[in-house]
Point group: C2
DNA sequence: ATACCTGCAAATGGTTTGCGAAGTT
DNA sequence: AACTTCGCAAACCATTTGCAGGTAT
């Protein structure tokens, strides 16, 4: 039984077939799939699943903190299994999402908020860039 | 004639009544109004204006770089007259948007992108926080 | 005159939701 | 049995768009 599955049970959720399928999809996902992608992957396991359930389940998992919902500048949401705090760089040409972590940025963010008289609660930091090719 | 109005003419845009009204609204706005807010303010000047025109005009001004479109985590867009590069801190309690600039952050962003093999093209940096009250 | 613009209303598209049926505990 | 959860289809809602009439240049 997966880590999240146990946490679902602890949270009092019923372990239904669709949820197990979505959990399985998330466990296998090393990327940042959109709802449609999660739906497509889930359907390969059980074609009877409904996209409404995918939306509901991902929303639920987000509320419970099992996944993180991102809205990069694409017009739809992507989800990732939550892990250590990090930010993202989006490849403007391929759409590929790269994760990064930077201690200096973390400190700077808090400091800036503080200097403005605010306690930093959350933040969104996304870099959008183009891959540098050695030969140009 | 406003600065942007001149730039519209230079860009070859026809200076129609609706555009002048929206320009006037933007010139008066010191904040980050949503489309609905721009629409409401514009209607006070000329009630015949259509929200489709507000959407079209703001989209056009955004393309031309006269305004900047933001999508804070609210489910709709806000616009601001473009000025010097800066980022935003959103007050989670009031929704108020505070602008800030930080040279260190700018350098760090580029460095991070570079270290990942990318040229930084654009970025989104939003802080969300709660005001620190002296008595707590 | 002729592009370009506008208002209106309909369409879009991702996301949410009401409902009755089905599943979990 | 009691309460969730599901699939389906309809509803939502911000935004976009087709169209036919209007307007700046």
């Amino acid at each position: 039984m997966s880590n999240i599955e146990q946490r679902c049970i602890d949270a009092g959720l019923k372990m239904t077939a669709p949820r197990k399928v979505i959990l399985q999809v998330l466990a296998m996902a090393g990327d940042h799939p959109s709802v449609d992608e999660v739906y497509a992957r889930a359907k390969e396991i059980d074609s009877s699943i409904s996209i409404a359930t995918v939306y509901r389940t991902l929303g639920l998992f987000d509320e419970l903190g099992f996944v993180v919902r991102h809205e990069f500048q694409e017009g739809y949401s992507r989800y990732e299994v939550s892990s250590e705090h990090h930010h993202h760089l989006v490849d403007l040409e391929t759409g590929k999402v790269i994760e990064f972590k930077d201690e200096q940025i973390e400190k700077l963010k808090s400091k800036i908020a503080h200097d403005l008289g605010y306690e930093l609660v959350e933040c969104r930091l996304e870099l959008y860039g183009r891959k540098i090719k050695p030969d140009e």
